[in-house]
């Protein structure tokens, strides 16, 4: 599905990703952990097509298609979804109108008819229920005045609506209290299936108690330096990152 080979990328001449390799297959959940400044959020940005990031070397393909050649909107239409670490407030754009526009542009790209108002409403209700998203928030302006937790839950609701092939969750757990964390995790678990995949970027092992990953990768200085199963996360929680840095250095 997603294949990242020898990815070098940075911002304004500063190289942040320095030869990153990652293979993600359908049905898998990959966790990416690592110390501050390792390049975790940069990876999310590069994959989703955030402006200002420049790829200097390497390739990223999704089902064989070159993602790096595509605009951010085309990546989304091909099935890439980024749950933002800091979701943006856009006053005056209604949440529901925004989602309807997004969904129909994606459908159009895929040669599908737009959903009727009725179909869209039914889908929206179904997904709201699935990810436990408050109906009142659906009709408000996009993220305007939402609490930190509500914003993150809105990201998961959007994820449910747009049904991507690969979802990247960029520190979705940051700023969540334990109840919100449970709701968000439950939503993600319900959305996991054999066709899609998740990349979960996090600082903390806690989230991985709820969303159990198939692989845990440690990102350090722009490269994946260690890969293991969910137990690696527990070790990191206990011992920190320094032992890996030493291991890599030796």
């Amino acid at each position: 599905m997603l294949s990242i080979k020898n990815l070098h990328a940075g911002v304004e001449e500063k190289e942040i990703l320095k030869g990153l390799n990652l293979e993600v297959k359908p049905g898998e959940v990959h966790a990416i952990m690592g110390p501050n400044g390792a390049g975790k959020s940069s990876l999310a940005s590069v994959l989703s097509g955030r402006p200002n990031y420049e790829v200097t070397e390497g390739s990223v393909t999704l089902d064989g298609k070159d993602l790096l050649e595509m605009s951010a909107e085309d990546r989304a239409r091909e099935g890439v979804f980024l749950a933002f670490q800091y979701p943006i407030e856009i006053p005056g754009v209604s949440n529901i109108n925004f989602l309807k526009t997004a969904l129909n542009e994606i459908r159009q790209y895929r040669g599908l008819e737009p959903l009727t108002a009725k179909e869209f409403l039914a889908l929206s209700k179904e997904k709201q229920k699935l990810v436990e998203f408050d109906a009142k928030l659906v009709n408000r302006s996009l993220n305007e005045g939402f609490s930190g937790g509500e914003k993150k839950r809105n990201e998961i609701f959007q994820l449910a609506m747009l049904d991507p092939k690969i979802a990247i969750l960029d520190e979705t757990d940051s700023g969540l209290d334990i109840d919100a964390l449970r709701i968000v995790s439950r939503g993600v678990n319900k959305l996991r299936n054999e066709q899609n995949a998740f990349i979960i970027i996090t600082h903390y092992q806690r989230l991985l108690d709820y969303i159990v990953p198939d692989f845990v990768h440690v990102l350090s200085d722009g490269k994946i330096v260690k890969t293991g199963d969910k137990n690696l996360a527990l070790t990191l929680e206990e011992k920190g990152y320094d032992w890996i840095k030493e291991e890599v250095a030796s």
Binding site: A72, F84, I88, N97
Partner: protein, 454 residues
């Protein structure tokens, strides 16, 4: 003042005035015209050294060899047919955006300022009076208000209009009359050679009367340069309500210098909605309200969406003269390409005007690195028990918000369109006539779709 010696237009106006003044009979009016022309003659056209014109250099727009008609021109059949076709197309465009909405509106068509009753659809109950301004001189309200509302001192353009106007509308909404549908004034401009046009209007609302008037201006795409220097005087009597919309679209070659000046009596409400869209080269709006009595309210809503090398300048003045007045001002600007905008909002609270509430807000977003906006709030308060506030913001397109929308599969154009409509929403939602709101939203959509992607 601009060095008028280098200004053929100034010379031509001086000689035109001599001709025009011979033709006019009415004494009071003749005196006013003479006084106005003297003001114009001594002021000349304003240069950027004039504080009121600091950011708007009119000089480049005065260099054309404009014809300056000073009496009614007869319209050729060809031009009339052209006007009729433009009106029909315009109607189509507006109707098109109305899907399922109430389509009812009266229509008043002017061609170069001259009323075309043939193309108009007006109420037939005989109460609403609409006649050419030149035929209104014996009307009581004309004699009461004409020339008393518009300020010509220090205003070269308004003075020039007063001295040389000959076309325009006199509209009288009589006491207690409620206009049951909006009146849509369609101003058609036809010019086969560069021309200076100076329409002059007087709109009077009697006590307890109410009306909604929507003005639009249309012209041929290949129109010759036209400078429209218009003055509209408005008198809103006790407890009258007037919602006044001006939707400013146009083509390149058109330059508008407009002065709308209104007086309000007690318990009245005047609401002005000025929307400027890409098209005309220059738009200068002078909107001046005199809150002459107690307990009244005024609303000023403006939206300017500018593109190309357009220059759009909104100057507003609100004069709170008596207690318990409320004025509310919200102007929003979105600037594309190399366009420029100016917002200058003055609020005067006179010594007697205790318990005044006066608010002003101006928000601007630059969508291009080459666009410029100059925004300046000015408050002069001489009363001590008032609530006044003002705020001005100038921002840029929020790249992070744009990326957020795109990351959900929304195209750049659609994303920008959503963001502009969202930004304009505070103003567009104030529009009381649903079809006009839809028309505006569609227009914004069109502009954003055609806008270049940077």
């Amino acid at each position: 003042m601009i060095n008028q010696l280098e200004m053929p237009l100034y010379d031509s106006l001086i000689s035109k005035y001599e001709i025009a003044s011979i033709q006019n009979g009415n004494d009071a009016l003749e005196q006013l015209r003479r006084k106005a022309f003297d003001i114009f003659r001594s002021l000349g056209f304003p240069s950027i050294k004039n504080e009121e014109w600091k950011y708007t250099n009119v000089l480049p727009f005065l260099k054309e060899e404009y014809e300056v008609p000073v009496q009614q021109q007869s319209l050729s059949k060809e031009d009339f047919d052209k006007a009729a076709a433009l009106v029909a197309a315009h109607q189509q465009e507006i109707q098109h955006s109305l899907k399922g909405e109430n389509k009812g509106a009266y229509r008043l068509v002017t061609i170069n300022g001259q009323i075309s009753f043939e193309l108009s659809i007006l109420p037939e109950d005989g109460h609403l009076k609409i006649i050419p301004i030149a035929e209104a001189e014996l009307e009581k309200e004309f004699q009461q208000y004409f020339g008393t509302i518009a300020t010509i001192e220090q205003n070269a353009f308004a003075a020039l209009n007063t001295a040389l106007y000959y076309e325009g509308l006199y509209i009288n909404v009589p006491r207690a009359y409620q206009l049951d549908q909006p009146l849509h004034i369609v101003n058609v401009l036809i010019a086969n050679a560069p021309a200076l046009m100076q329409p002059r209007h007087l709109i009077v609302l009697g006590a307890q009367a109410s009306a909604e008037i929507v003005e639009t201006t249309i012209s041929d795409k290949n129109i010759q340069p036209v400078l429209v220097n218009s003055v509209t005087e408005i008198a809103v009597a006790e407890n009258a309500h007037f919602h006044h919309y001006d939707i400013q679209t146009g083509n390149s070659g058109l330059r508008f210098i407009k002065r709308v000046e209104a007086t309000q009596e007690r318990d009245s409400n005047y609401s002005n909605y000025t929307f400027t869209l890409p098209g005309a080269d220059l738009v200068r709006n002078n909107l001046v309200l005199h809150l002459n009595q107690e307990n009244l309210e005024s609303h000023l809503y403006g939206l300017y969406l500018t593109a190309g090398t357009q220059l759009v300048d909104n100057h507003t003045e609100v004069h709170h003269k008596k207690p318990h007045g409320e004025s509310n001002q919200l102007y929003k600007g979105v600037l594309l390409d190399q366009s420029k905008a100016v917002f200058n909002g003055k609020i005067f609270v006179y010594q007697d005007a205790q318990k005044t509430n006066a608010f002003q807000q101006s928000n601007n977003v630059l969508f291009s690195e080459k666009a410029t906006v100059n925004a300046k709030p000015q408050l002069e308060i001489f009363a001590d028990d008032v609530k006044c506030s003002h705020g001005t913001t100038i921002g840029q397109l929020n790249d992070e918000a744009l990326f957020y929308l795109k990351s959900r599969g929304i195209s750049e154009q659609t994303a920008k369109n959503l963001m502009v409509n969202a930004f304009a929403f505070d103003v567009t939602q104030k529009v009381k006539i649903a079809p006009i709101r839809t028309y505006l939203e569609n227009k914004i959509g069109e502009v954003m779709t055609n806008a270049s992607s940077n």
